[in-house]
């Protein structure tokens, strides 16, 4: 039995399809090949450049990591676990400076809170200046937006480095660094919230003869407050981790003790402070999450 004759037009459609498909597959294969080559090249150069397998550090990276983990773990012995500070292997000898660490930990929390509060105020001011529906002058919007972008590019540790040189060692430099970088990120997020304000509610208030203050209080604030607060609290969580690191460059808080533990090569002490820090971050996370969920419910109820 003969196959039915194929119309020349149909044949050319099939041929076109086959050709396009071949081309497509070939292009994709090329793209994959080039992508893989670029990726492995970058990876090779990166590992080379970062001395990953360099002999200066003795080679054998995995062995060194294991050795390091051994040095970091506390030397606790079950028998002496609850004896006093002088006994080797007790919890108290591992956490020998706990009161100081707790005090510095609290200082870190205070730094994070104050830095966040100042940053929220700065972010609010900036957000009104660069929201499309609130700031009619495009030039101001442009300048403020670019300024915020620039702030976000500079890591807060580098800000802190400069600020410590200006304000001296202590929490003040850290708070200002946190406040500046918080302004940079919250200014952008807040302005996006401002731009999403529903104009109909404001129109309704206009129609009922409300003044500007009334409009902001009853028309804008209820719409934006839960979102503002939620972003500010997320930022507070981040700032706590940031504040803990700032002490390393002398900007106050628990980081200074991390630096000290390292300069005395007390790796097990380092781990103790690290555990304390993680605990602090954990507590703040839980509190802030609870507040955020309440605010979200309030926002939904309105």
């Amino acid at each position: 039995m003969r196959s039915p004759p194929v119309e020349p037009a149909a044949r050319s459609v099939v041929a076109d399809f086959e050709r396009d498909r071949r081309l497509f597959l070939r292009r994709r294969r090329w793209e994959t090949l080039v992508g893989t080559l670029i990726f492995s090249g970058l990876l090779l150069v990166s590992f080379q450049h970062s001395q990953f397998f360099s002999s200066d550090i003795g080679g054998d990276p995995l062995g060194r990591i294991a050795d390091f983990l051994g040095r970091m773990s506390p030397r606790l012995s079950p028998a002496a676990l609850f004896s006093d500070r002088a006994t080797q292997g007790s919890l108290a000898s591992w956490l020998y400076d706990l009161p100081l660490w707790l005090k510095l930990g609290w200082q870190t929390v205070e730094m994070a809170i104050l830095g966040t509060v100042v940053g929220v105020i700065g972010g609010l001011a900036a957000s009104f200046l660069c929201a499309r529906n609130l700031m009619p002058i495009p030039a101001v919007r442009f300048v403020v937006r670019r300024g915020l972008e620039m702030i976000r590019t500079v890591p807060e540790i580098i800000l802190a480095l400069i600020l410590v040189a200006a304000f001296g060692v202590g929490p003040l430099a850290g708070i200002i660094a946190l406040a500046i970088s918080t302004t940079g990120s919250l200014g952008k997020l807040f302005s996006e919230i401002n731009e999403q304000v529903d104009p109909r509610q404001l129109e309704a208030m206009d129609a009922s003869g409300a003044g500007l203050v009334g409009k902001i209080r009853y028309g804008v604030v209820p719409q934006v407050l839960p979102n503002y607060a939620s972003y500010a609290l997320i930022r507070l969580e981040g700032n706590l981790a940031g504040a803990a690191a700032l002490g390393i460059v002398g900007a106050g808080g628990i980081g200074i003790e991390l630096q000290r533990a390292i300069s005395y090569t007390e790796f097990d002490t380092y781990l103790a402070i690290l555990v304390l820090m993680v605990g602090l971050i954990f507590v703040i996370d839980i509190v802030s999450e609870a507040i955020r969920h309440r605010l979200m419910r309030l926002g939904a109820a309105r």
Partner: protein
Amino acid sequence: MNSRAYERALATAPHILRPNWPRRLGVVAAVGLVLAALAAMVVDLQLAPEAIVAGVGKLGRFAHAAFPPSDGGQWRRILHALGETFAMAFAGTVLAAVAAAPLGLIGAKTVVGQPVVHFLFRRALDWCRGVPSLVWALILVSAFGLGPFGGVIALALADIPSLAKLFSEAIENSDERPMEGVRSAGVSPLMALRYGLAPQAAPVIASQCLFFLESNFRNAAVLGIVGAGGIGFELQERIRVFAFDEAAFIIILYMVCVAVLDTVSQRLRARLA
């Protein structure tokens, strides 16, 4: 007319129109309490206004000294340091992604159906997420010696928990039906992951890795401060000797690099999506 409507409303629902004094007092008290707490923190940290004024004056002098920015005749060294910073970021991101992939699989509800394991695992990741890479770098540089190696490990350690969490979310969000289809064809579990899951999850995961590369370039710039090499080390040296014109040059160059990297990575991510 207006006043009659008001009177009628007052008669039916007086509590809505009358000011709610207990509630107002409560709000005022709460605001006062918060302000008092903030003031107490300011006192506790011994933040003095004169210190702020003096510091701002010094900052002004720094800004004056920073203009015009100068490369100090060391642009080759600075470019090399920038390259080192990028190398740290790239190597750290790749290591973190490789380590986070199996963790992400374990953390995904759809792959490991053990609620207790899942919960504990997620919580553990949450706890570790708070430790910044600088804190890891400080101890790693001390353990492994000065140089970028410690920085790479620090970046990887700081990223693994967040990446593992994002990976497991990407895996959970993917459609399960292709997996079932591949499984029903009788292939091994590994093959089911490769052909049922990877085609869906890989673009999401790749785009997250690019995002982390961007943020790691910023983090890597900081690690030099504790001795992990790269641009942070050069910058810290300049600031320490108050060579603010050279510091400004480095910061501007660095900002340009961040902008370039962000643009490239955004393009790539847009193509993946």
